[in-house]
Symmetry: C2
Subunit: 211 residues, 2 copies
Protein backbone atom coordinates (compact mmCIF):
# COMPACT_ATOMS: atom_id res chain seq x y z
CA UNK A 1 0.00 0.00 0.00
CA UNK A 2 1.41 3.38 -0.99
CA UNK A 3 1.46 5.55 2.11
CA UNK A 4 2.49 9.09 2.99
CA UNK A 5 4.29 10.09 6.18
CA UNK A 6 2.72 12.31 8.86
CA UNK A 7 5.22 15.05 8.13
CA UNK A 8 3.98 15.19 4.55
CA UNK A 9 0.37 15.44 5.71
CA UNK A 10 1.33 18.43 7.86
CA UNK A 11 3.15 20.09 4.96
CA UNK A 12 0.17 19.49 2.70
CA UNK A 13 -2.05 21.21 5.23
CA UNK A 14 0.43 24.10 5.26
CA UNK A 15 0.35 24.23 1.47
CA UNK A 16 -3.43 24.57 1.53
CA UNK A 17 -3.18 27.23 4.24
CA UNK A 18 -0.69 29.23 2.21
CA UNK A 19 -2.35 28.79 -1.19
CA UNK A 20 -3.73 32.16 -2.22
CA UNK A 21 -5.69 33.67 -5.09
CA UNK A 22 -2.89 35.93 -6.27
CA UNK A 23 -3.37 39.29 -8.01
CA UNK A 24 0.09 40.84 -7.53
CA UNK A 25 2.93 39.37 -9.57
CA UNK A 26 6.51 40.30 -10.38
CA UNK A 27 5.86 41.32 -13.98
CA UNK A 28 9.48 41.08 -15.04
CA UNK A 29 10.31 37.70 -13.51
CA UNK A 30 9.52 35.02 -16.09
CA UNK A 31 8.29 31.49 -15.43
CA UNK A 32 10.59 29.04 -17.21
CA UNK A 33 9.07 26.57 -19.65
CA UNK A 34 10.57 23.71 -17.64
CA UNK A 35 8.84 24.78 -14.46
CA UNK A 36 5.55 25.49 -16.19
CA UNK A 37 5.58 22.06 -17.85
CA UNK A 38 6.30 20.41 -14.53
CA UNK A 39 3.36 22.15 -12.89
CA UNK A 40 1.05 21.49 -15.84
CA UNK A 41 1.67 17.78 -15.29
CA UNK A 42 -0.60 18.11 -12.27
CA UNK A 43 -3.51 18.63 -14.66
CA UNK A 44 -2.94 15.26 -16.28
CA UNK A 45 -3.07 13.67 -12.83
CA UNK A 46 -6.48 15.12 -11.98
CA UNK A 47 -9.62 12.99 -11.81
CA UNK A 48 -12.02 13.20 -14.72
CA UNK A 49 -15.47 11.74 -15.12
CA UNK A 50 -15.28 8.54 -17.16
CA UNK A 51 -11.59 9.36 -17.73
CA UNK A 52 -12.88 11.87 -20.26
CA UNK A 53 -10.01 14.35 -19.64
CA UNK A 54 -12.13 17.21 -21.00
CA UNK A 55 -9.60 19.95 -20.10
CA UNK A 56 -8.44 22.11 -23.02
CA UNK A 57 -5.82 24.73 -22.38
CA UNK A 58 -4.96 27.85 -24.32
CA UNK A 59 -1.81 29.71 -23.38
CA UNK A 60 -2.70 33.36 -23.94
CA UNK A 61 0.60 34.82 -25.10
CA UNK A 62 0.28 37.34 -27.88
CA UNK A 63 -0.28 41.02 -27.19
CA UNK A 64 -3.46 40.95 -29.25
CA UNK A 65 -4.96 38.00 -27.37
CA UNK A 66 -4.01 39.47 -24.00
CA UNK A 67 -5.51 42.81 -24.93
CA UNK A 68 -8.83 41.18 -25.78
CA UNK A 69 -8.82 39.17 -22.56
CA UNK A 70 -8.03 42.26 -20.51
CA UNK A 71 -10.78 44.23 -22.21
CA UNK A 72 -13.20 41.38 -21.49
CA UNK A 73 -12.32 41.56 -17.79
CA UNK A 74 -12.48 45.35 -17.66
CA UNK A 75 -15.94 45.41 -19.24
CA UNK A 76 -17.29 42.72 -16.91
CA UNK A 77 -15.70 44.41 -13.93
CA UNK A 78 -17.21 47.80 -14.76
CA UNK A 79 -20.62 46.13 -15.10
CA UNK A 80 -20.16 44.37 -11.76
CA UNK A 81 -19.29 47.67 -10.05
CA UNK A 82 -22.64 49.09 -11.15
CA UNK A 83 -24.32 46.40 -9.00
CA UNK A 84 -22.90 47.85 -5.79
CA UNK A 85 -23.60 51.12 -4.01
CA UNK A 86 -22.26 53.13 -1.11
CA UNK A 87 -19.48 51.55 0.93
CA UNK A 88 -19.54 48.30 -1.02
CA UNK A 89 -19.10 50.16 -4.32
CA UNK A 90 -16.19 52.16 -2.95
CA UNK A 91 -14.57 49.01 -1.61
CA UNK A 92 -15.19 47.10 -4.84
CA UNK A 93 -13.67 49.87 -6.94
CA UNK A 94 -10.52 49.71 -4.81
CA UNK A 95 -9.99 45.97 -5.21
CA UNK A 96 -7.41 44.54 -7.59
CA UNK A 97 -9.42 41.68 -9.06
CA UNK A 98 -7.07 40.39 -11.71
CA UNK A 99 -3.35 40.13 -12.30
CA UNK A 100 -3.85 40.23 -16.05
CA UNK A 101 -1.53 43.18 -16.61
CA UNK A 102 1.34 41.70 -14.61
CA UNK A 103 1.14 37.91 -14.85
CA UNK A 104 3.81 36.50 -17.19
CA UNK A 105 1.78 33.33 -17.85
CA UNK A 106 -1.94 33.38 -18.59
CA UNK A 107 -3.98 30.28 -19.28
CA UNK A 108 -7.54 30.07 -20.50
CA UNK A 109 -8.85 26.73 -19.30
CA UNK A 110 -11.82 25.29 -21.17
CA UNK A 111 -14.00 22.20 -20.89
CA UNK A 112 -14.83 20.29 -24.06
CA UNK A 113 -18.49 19.56 -23.34
CA UNK A 114 -18.71 17.57 -26.55
CA UNK A 115 -15.84 15.15 -26.07
CA UNK A 116 -16.44 11.49 -26.91
CA UNK A 117 -13.64 10.44 -24.60
CA UNK A 118 -14.93 8.34 -21.72
CA UNK A 119 -18.01 7.38 -23.77
CA UNK A 120 -20.22 9.51 -21.54
CA UNK A 121 -19.63 7.41 -18.43
CA UNK A 122 -20.74 9.28 -15.31
CA UNK A 123 -21.97 12.29 -17.27
CA UNK A 124 -25.56 11.21 -17.94
CA UNK A 125 -27.53 12.66 -15.04
CA UNK A 126 -24.80 15.21 -14.24
CA UNK A 127 -23.20 16.39 -17.50
CA UNK A 128 -21.71 19.24 -15.45
CA UNK A 129 -19.34 16.59 -14.05
CA UNK A 130 -17.14 17.26 -17.09
CA UNK A 131 -16.67 20.89 -16.11
CA UNK A 132 -16.13 19.77 -12.53
CA UNK A 133 -13.31 17.56 -13.80
CA UNK A 134 -11.69 20.63 -15.30
CA UNK A 135 -12.01 22.46 -11.98
CA UNK A 136 -10.35 19.49 -10.27
CA UNK A 137 -7.47 19.86 -12.72
CA UNK A 138 -7.22 23.59 -12.00
CA UNK A 139 -7.05 22.81 -8.29
CA UNK A 140 -4.27 20.25 -8.80
CA UNK A 141 -2.40 22.81 -10.89
CA UNK A 142 -2.92 25.53 -8.29
CA UNK A 143 -1.51 23.44 -5.45
CA UNK A 144 1.45 22.19 -7.51
CA UNK A 145 2.22 25.75 -8.61
CA UNK A 146 2.13 27.05 -5.04
CA UNK A 147 4.38 24.21 -3.87
CA UNK A 148 6.97 25.42 -6.38
CA UNK A 149 6.59 29.02 -5.20
CA UNK A 150 4.38 30.22 -8.05
CA UNK A 151 1.20 32.19 -7.48
CA UNK A 152 -2.05 31.51 -9.30
CA UNK A 153 -5.01 33.85 -9.62
CA UNK A 154 -8.37 32.65 -10.92
CA UNK A 155 -10.27 35.39 -12.76
CA UNK A 156 -14.02 34.74 -13.05
CA UNK A 157 -15.07 38.32 -13.85
CA UNK A 158 -15.09 37.42 -17.52
CA UNK A 159 -17.75 36.98 -20.18
CA UNK A 160 -17.03 33.33 -21.00
CA UNK A 161 -18.77 33.34 -24.39
CA UNK A 162 -16.80 36.41 -25.52
CA UNK A 163 -13.57 34.77 -24.37
CA UNK A 164 -14.35 31.68 -26.46
CA UNK A 165 -14.94 33.88 -29.51
CA UNK A 166 -11.82 35.99 -28.94
CA UNK A 167 -9.61 32.93 -28.55
CA UNK A 168 -11.28 31.22 -31.51
CA UNK A 169 -11.90 27.87 -29.83
CA UNK A 170 -14.25 25.11 -31.02
CA UNK A 171 -17.94 25.58 -30.26
CA UNK A 172 -18.11 22.72 -27.80
CA UNK A 173 -15.53 24.35 -25.52
CA UNK A 174 -16.76 26.32 -22.50
CA UNK A 175 -14.49 28.56 -20.44
CA UNK A 176 -14.06 27.28 -16.91
CA UNK A 177 -11.22 29.44 -15.61
CA UNK A 178 -8.85 32.19 -16.67
CA UNK A 179 -5.63 31.72 -14.72
CA UNK A 180 -2.89 34.26 -14.10
CA UNK A 181 0.39 32.62 -13.14
CA UNK A 182 3.67 34.11 -11.98
CA UNK A 183 5.91 34.88 -9.03
CA UNK A 184 3.86 36.50 -6.29
CA UNK A 185 4.92 39.79 -4.69
CA UNK A 186 4.12 38.39 -1.26
CA UNK A 187 2.91 35.22 0.41
CA UNK A 188 0.23 35.15 3.06
CA UNK A 189 -2.01 32.90 5.11
CA UNK A 190 -4.91 35.32 4.75
CA UNK A 191 -7.11 35.74 1.67
CA UNK A 192 -6.92 39.23 0.22
CA UNK A 193 -10.70 39.66 0.48
CA UNK A 194 -10.41 38.97 4.21
CA UNK A 195 -7.53 41.44 4.56
CA UNK A 196 -9.53 44.25 3.00
CA UNK A 197 -12.63 43.36 5.03
CA UNK A 198 -14.77 42.35 2.05
CA UNK A 199 -15.71 39.03 3.63
CA UNK A 200 -14.41 36.74 6.36
CA UNK A 201 -13.95 33.00 6.55
CA UNK A 202 -16.37 30.92 8.60
CA UNK A 203 -15.81 27.77 10.62
CA UNK A 204 -16.93 24.66 8.79
CA UNK A 205 -17.37 21.75 11.07
CA UNK A 206 -20.21 23.10 13.18
CA UNK A 207 -22.30 23.43 10.07
CA UNK A 208 -22.12 19.86 8.83
CA UNK A 209 -25.55 18.31 9.13
CA UNK A 210 -26.50 14.68 9.39
CA UNK A 211 -29.30 12.79 7.73
Amino acid sequence: MKQFPDEFCDQLHDLMRWRRDVRHFHADRPVTDDLLEKVLEAIRLAPSVGLSEPWRIISVKSGAARQKALKNFQTANADALKGYSGDRAQKYAGLKLSGMVDAPVQLAVFCDDGTDKGAGLGAGTMPEARRYSVVSAVMNFWLAARAHGLGVGWVSIIDPAQMAVDLDVPESWALVAYLCVGWPIETSETPELEKVNWEKRDPLLAEIQER
Copy 2:
Protein backbone atom coordinates in the same frame (compact mmCIF):
# COMPACT_ATOMS: atom_id res chain seq x y z
CA MET B 1 8.17 34.27 1.85
CA LYS B 2 6.66 30.93 2.80
CA GLN B 3 8.39 28.26 0.71
CA PHE B 4 8.17 24.51 0.30
CA PRO B 5 11.17 22.21 -0.13
CA ASP B 6 11.83 20.24 -3.33
CA GLU B 7 11.26 16.98 -1.52
CA PHE B 8 7.75 18.10 -0.65
CA CYS B 9 7.07 19.03 -4.28
CA ASP B 10 8.08 15.51 -5.29
CA GLN B 11 5.85 13.96 -2.63
CA LEU B 12 2.95 16.15 -3.73
CA HIS B 13 3.42 14.90 -7.27
CA ASP B 14 3.39 11.35 -5.89
CA LEU B 15 0.20 12.09 -3.98
CA MET B 16 -1.50 13.22 -7.17
CA ARG B 17 -0.20 10.15 -9.00
CA TRP B 18 -1.57 7.84 -6.31
CA ARG B 19 -4.88 9.62 -5.79
CA ARG B 20 -7.61 7.37 -7.10
CA ASP B 21 -11.37 7.40 -7.52
CA VAL B 22 -12.01 4.57 -5.10
CA ARG B 23 -14.92 2.12 -5.30
CA HIS B 24 -13.67 -0.71 -3.07
CA PHE B 25 -13.56 -0.04 0.66
CA HIS B 26 -13.06 -2.07 3.81
CA ALA B 27 -16.67 -1.92 4.95
CA ASP B 28 -15.90 -2.88 8.54
CA ARG B 29 -13.00 -0.52 9.14
CA PRO B 30 -14.40 2.76 10.46
CA VAL B 31 -13.04 6.24 9.89
CA THR B 32 -12.57 7.96 13.26
CA ASP B 33 -14.27 11.31 13.85
CA ASP B 34 -10.88 12.82 14.64
CA LEU B 35 -9.43 11.84 11.29
CA LEU B 36 -12.53 12.85 9.37
CA GLU B 37 -12.56 16.28 11.03
CA LYS B 38 -8.89 16.75 10.23
CA VAL B 39 -9.47 15.96 6.56
CA LEU B 40 -12.62 18.09 6.38
CA GLU B 41 -10.48 21.06 7.43
CA ALA B 42 -9.10 20.97 3.89
CA ILE B 43 -12.50 22.15 2.66
CA ARG B 44 -12.30 25.30 4.75
CA LEU B 45 -8.91 26.02 3.15
CA ALA B 46 -10.23 25.84 -0.41
CA PRO B 47 -10.61 28.91 -2.60
CA SER B 48 -14.09 30.30 -3.06
CA VAL B 49 -15.33 33.02 -5.36
CA GLY B 50 -15.69 36.28 -3.41
CA LEU B 51 -14.90 34.25 -0.27
CA SER B 52 -18.49 33.05 -0.54
CA GLU B 53 -17.70 29.60 0.93
CA PRO B 54 -20.82 28.13 -0.71
CA TRP B 55 -20.06 24.52 0.28
CA ARG B 56 -22.78 22.76 2.30
CA ILE B 57 -22.16 19.27 3.52
CA ILE B 58 -24.57 16.56 4.57
CA SER B 59 -23.17 13.48 6.24
CA VAL B 60 -25.40 10.67 4.99
CA LYS B 61 -25.51 8.36 7.99
CA SER B 62 -28.90 6.83 8.64
CA GLY B 63 -29.97 3.61 7.02
CA ALA B 64 -32.98 5.34 5.51
CA ALA B 65 -30.96 8.15 3.92
CA ARG B 66 -28.36 5.73 2.60
CA GLN B 67 -31.05 3.51 1.13
CA LYS B 68 -32.54 6.44 -0.78
CA ALA B 69 -29.11 7.52 -2.03
CA LEU B 70 -28.28 3.99 -3.15
CA LYS B 71 -31.61 3.67 -4.93
CA ASN B 72 -30.96 7.00 -6.65
CA PHE B 73 -27.63 5.68 -7.95
CA GLN B 74 -29.06 2.31 -8.98
CA THR B 75 -31.84 3.93 -10.98
CA ALA B 76 -29.49 6.36 -12.73
CA ASN B 77 -27.01 3.58 -13.38
CA ALA B 78 -29.66 1.30 -14.92
CA ASP B 79 -30.73 4.18 -17.17
CA ALA B 80 -27.14 4.84 -18.19
CA LEU B 81 -26.62 1.18 -19.09
CA LYS B 82 -29.48 1.44 -21.58
CA GLY B 83 -27.43 4.02 -23.50
CA TYR B 84 -24.73 1.47 -24.34
CA SER B 85 -24.85 -1.56 -26.59
CA GLY B 86 -22.67 -4.52 -27.49
CA ASP B 87 -19.20 -4.64 -25.94
CA ARG B 88 -19.59 -1.29 -24.25
CA ALA B 89 -22.80 -2.38 -22.55
CA GLN B 90 -21.21 -5.59 -21.33
CA LYS B 91 -18.21 -3.70 -20.03
CA TYR B 92 -20.39 -1.04 -18.39
CA ALA B 93 -22.52 -3.64 -16.64
CA GLY B 94 -19.38 -5.18 -15.17
CA LEU B 95 -18.04 -1.96 -13.68
CA LYS B 96 -18.32 -1.13 -10.01
CA LEU B 97 -19.29 2.52 -10.24
CA SER B 98 -19.96 3.36 -6.63
CA GLY B 99 -18.76 2.30 -3.22
CA MET B 100 -22.08 3.23 -1.64
CA VAL B 101 -22.69 -0.18 -0.11
CA ASP B 102 -19.25 -0.40 1.50
CA ALA B 103 -18.08 3.11 2.31
CA PRO B 104 -18.30 3.88 6.05
CA VAL B 105 -18.51 7.64 5.44
CA GLN B 106 -20.72 9.18 2.78
CA LEU B 107 -20.95 12.90 2.17
CA ALA B 108 -23.39 14.73 -0.07
CA VAL B 109 -21.69 17.96 -1.04
CA PHE B 110 -23.93 20.81 -2.15
CA CYS B 111 -23.46 24.35 -3.39
CA ASP B 112 -25.67 27.08 -1.99
CA ASP B 113 -26.34 28.98 -5.20
CA GLY B 114 -28.30 31.56 -3.24
CA THR B 115 -25.77 32.52 -0.61
CA ASP B 116 -25.30 36.23 0.15
CA LYS B 117 -21.80 35.60 1.44
CA GLY B 118 -19.20 37.34 -0.68
CA ALA B 119 -21.81 39.82 -1.90
CA GLY B 120 -21.77 38.29 -5.36
CA LEU B 121 -18.15 39.24 -6.06
CA GLY B 122 -16.79 37.28 -9.03
CA ALA B 123 -20.08 35.51 -9.67
CA GLY B 124 -21.75 38.01 -11.99
CA THR B 125 -20.77 36.81 -15.46
CA MET B 126 -19.93 33.31 -14.23
CA PRO B 127 -22.37 32.36 -11.44
CA GLU B 128 -21.15 28.78 -11.94
CA ALA B 129 -17.98 29.94 -10.15
CA ARG B 130 -19.79 29.16 -6.88
CA ARG B 131 -20.18 25.51 -7.83
CA TYR B 132 -16.58 25.51 -9.03
CA SER B 133 -15.57 26.70 -5.57
CA VAL B 134 -17.29 23.65 -4.13
CA VAL B 135 -15.41 21.40 -6.55
CA SER B 136 -12.15 23.04 -5.44
CA ALA B 137 -13.08 22.15 -1.89
CA VAL B 138 -13.81 18.55 -2.89
CA MET B 139 -10.40 18.36 -4.53
CA ASN B 140 -8.65 19.70 -1.43
CA PHE B 141 -10.55 17.14 0.66
CA TRP B 142 -9.69 14.34 -1.75
CA LEU B 143 -5.95 15.03 -1.64
CA ALA B 144 -5.89 15.48 2.14
CA ALA B 145 -7.83 12.23 2.58
CA ARG B 146 -5.46 10.31 0.33
CA ALA B 147 -2.44 11.74 2.16
CA HIS B 148 -3.87 10.21 5.36
CA GLY B 149 -4.44 6.87 3.61
CA LEU B 150 -8.18 7.28 3.05
CA GLY B 151 -9.82 6.59 -0.28
CA VAL B 152 -12.43 8.86 -1.83
CA GLY B 153 -14.87 7.96 -4.59
CA TRP B 154 -16.91 10.62 -6.39
CA VAL B 155 -20.27 9.31 -7.57
CA SER B 156 -21.87 11.39 -10.34
CA ILE B 157 -24.34 8.76 -11.56
CA ILE B 158 -26.99 10.40 -9.43
CA ASP B 159 -30.15 12.38 -10.10
CA PRO B 160 -29.11 15.57 -8.28
CA ALA B 161 -32.63 16.97 -7.90
CA GLN B 162 -33.89 13.72 -6.37
CA MET B 163 -30.94 13.69 -3.97
CA ALA B 164 -31.80 17.22 -2.84
CA VAL B 165 -35.39 16.14 -2.17
CA ASP B 166 -34.40 12.93 -0.40
CA LEU B 167 -31.97 14.73 1.89
CA ASP B 168 -34.45 17.56 2.46
CA VAL B 169 -32.05 20.42 1.81
CA PRO B 170 -32.96 24.08 1.11
CA GLU B 171 -34.10 24.90 -2.41
CA SER B 172 -31.05 26.99 -3.21
CA TRP B 173 -28.71 24.04 -2.67
CA ALA B 174 -27.52 22.07 -5.71
CA LEU B 175 -25.73 18.74 -5.45
CA VAL B 176 -22.16 18.96 -6.68
CA ALA B 177 -20.72 15.64 -5.52
CA TYR B 178 -21.64 12.49 -3.63
CA LEU B 179 -18.48 11.25 -1.93
CA CYS B 180 -17.79 7.78 -0.58
CA VAL B 181 -14.97 7.77 1.96
CA GLY B 182 -13.20 4.92 3.70
CA TRP B 183 -10.13 2.72 3.80
CA PRO B 184 -9.37 1.46 0.30
CA ILE B 185 -8.87 -2.25 -0.40
CA GLU B 186 -5.87 -1.44 -2.56
CA THR B 187 -3.79 1.49 -3.74
CA SER B 188 -2.75 2.00 -7.33
CA GLU B 189 -1.17 4.42 -9.74
CA THR B 190 -3.62 3.44 -12.47
CA PRO B 191 -7.23 4.59 -12.72
CA GLU B 192 -9.70 1.72 -12.56
CA LEU B 193 -11.26 2.73 -15.89
CA GLU B 194 -7.82 2.40 -17.48
CA LYS B 195 -7.24 -1.00 -15.85
CA VAL B 196 -10.46 -2.40 -17.29
CA ASN B 197 -9.79 -0.84 -20.69
CA TRP B 198 -12.75 1.54 -20.64
CA GLU B 199 -10.58 4.52 -21.52
CA LYS B 200 -6.91 5.47 -21.39
CA ARG B 201 -5.12 8.61 -20.30
CA ASP B 202 -3.69 10.95 -22.92
CA PRO B 203 -0.58 13.09 -22.83
CA LEU B 204 -1.38 16.72 -22.08
CA LEU B 205 1.42 19.01 -23.01
CA ALA B 206 1.44 18.42 -26.74
CA GLU B 207 -2.14 19.62 -26.91
CA ILE B 208 -1.70 23.01 -25.31
CA GLN B 209 -2.32 25.66 -27.95
CA GLU B 210 -1.12 29.22 -28.03
CA ARG B 211 -2.96 32.35 -29.02
